[in-house]
Symmetry: C2
Subunit: 199 residues, 2 copies
């Protein structure tokens, strides 16, 4: 069964996923305006996913959110992990240097494989739907033509500067599958990427 | 009466208004998919506008579309002009060098004034709603905090490279006023820019 790769991400109106230093205060402020109980389809998306591929920077950020360190080893520590027991591959050029707390060793692994090789490996292991996260990792998968679905939530802010979601991605035709706007000003667009004829 | 400034523009999903060389083939291709009779609110927007402020590059591009030159002087030439008799100010650092065909001399003028001074001038002349167009001109008006409404139509394509709509614009909070998606995959979002407290 082929492995489908999807991106679910929030960007500013000018296409940034974080400030230049990686901070997300603007996104936190926006999240605080979200109607209680509304998750913009995230839970349903997460449920459809059986593996997460995340860039090292993003991984280290979420590790920090959970206050997990190389020593975290208890069941309580495991509870803090947002992604629960979903298998996660962290993409890094130095897999041996990656901090994987003992409490996450059952689900998190590191890989320095390029996107196409990693895709083949995960497909071979029987995964069917990968959640691709992190700016450079998304760009790598986009460049390799491996992203099938893009779910982008536009936050009503212009940042002016930041880390772009899409940069030096080859020209890609898209098909709009769904567009949804929320009373708190988010607009979530779901696109499928058109495969190149030659691919 | 205060002069309101609005932007009505189409961008790729990665925020470009044109390819790096200014070409719009991708936009023309997208326009060709638009349902007959649908104008995505453009006519109503144009009707609400009593002056157009356009960057030199954009002006020269539309002059080329109309095949107008420094010699164009007939009523037929005037007919070719897309913007009819709506007054237009072309922003350029060299107003004397701007090509304004005789057939457009009644409506088109050139100005090297910076955004705030041009805004004051037009307001003083009694204009109430300006349509700001062209990448650098939009950015200049955004930087000066002069844009009140942003109507951005997202075209379902990633270009990877191009001329950005928003670049080095200071952080700006937005309020989503309306979001509309079209069966041909365009998503048009209308935002108002939040005024800075200190402005």
């Amino acid at each position: 069964m082929p492995l489908k790769c999807s991106v679910y991400i929030a960007t500013s109106l000018d296409g940034f996923i974080a400030r230049e230093d990686g901070t997300l205060d603007w996104l936190d402020a926006a999240q605080a305006t979200v109607t209680e109980g509304e998750d913009c389809g995230y839970a349903a998306f997460r449920k459809s996913v059986d593996v997460i591929v995340m860039g090292r920077n993003t991984y280290e950020t979420v590790l920090g959110f959970a206050a997990l360190t190389a020593e975290s080893d208890s069941a309580e520590d495991t509870e803090k992990w947002f992604y629960k027991d979903t298998p996660m591959v962290v993409v890094t050029s130095k897999p041996d240097a990656l901090c994987i707390p003992p409490c996450l060793s059952g689900c998190v692994s590191a890989s320095s494989l390029p996107p196409s090789a990693l895709h083949s490996k995960l497909e071979g292991e029987g995964y069917t739907h990968a959640y691709i996260d992190g700016g450079r990792t998304v760009q790598g998968f986009m460049r390799a033509g491996l992203v099938e679905t893009l779910i982008i939530t536009l936050i009503p802010i212009i940042l002016g500067k930041g880390i772009p979601l899409l940069k030096d991605v080859p020209e890609t035709g898209l098909t709009l599958v769904e567009s949804k706007s929320y009373p708190f000003g988010f607009v979530q667009n779901t696109y499928t990427c058109k495969k190149k004829e030659s691919a």
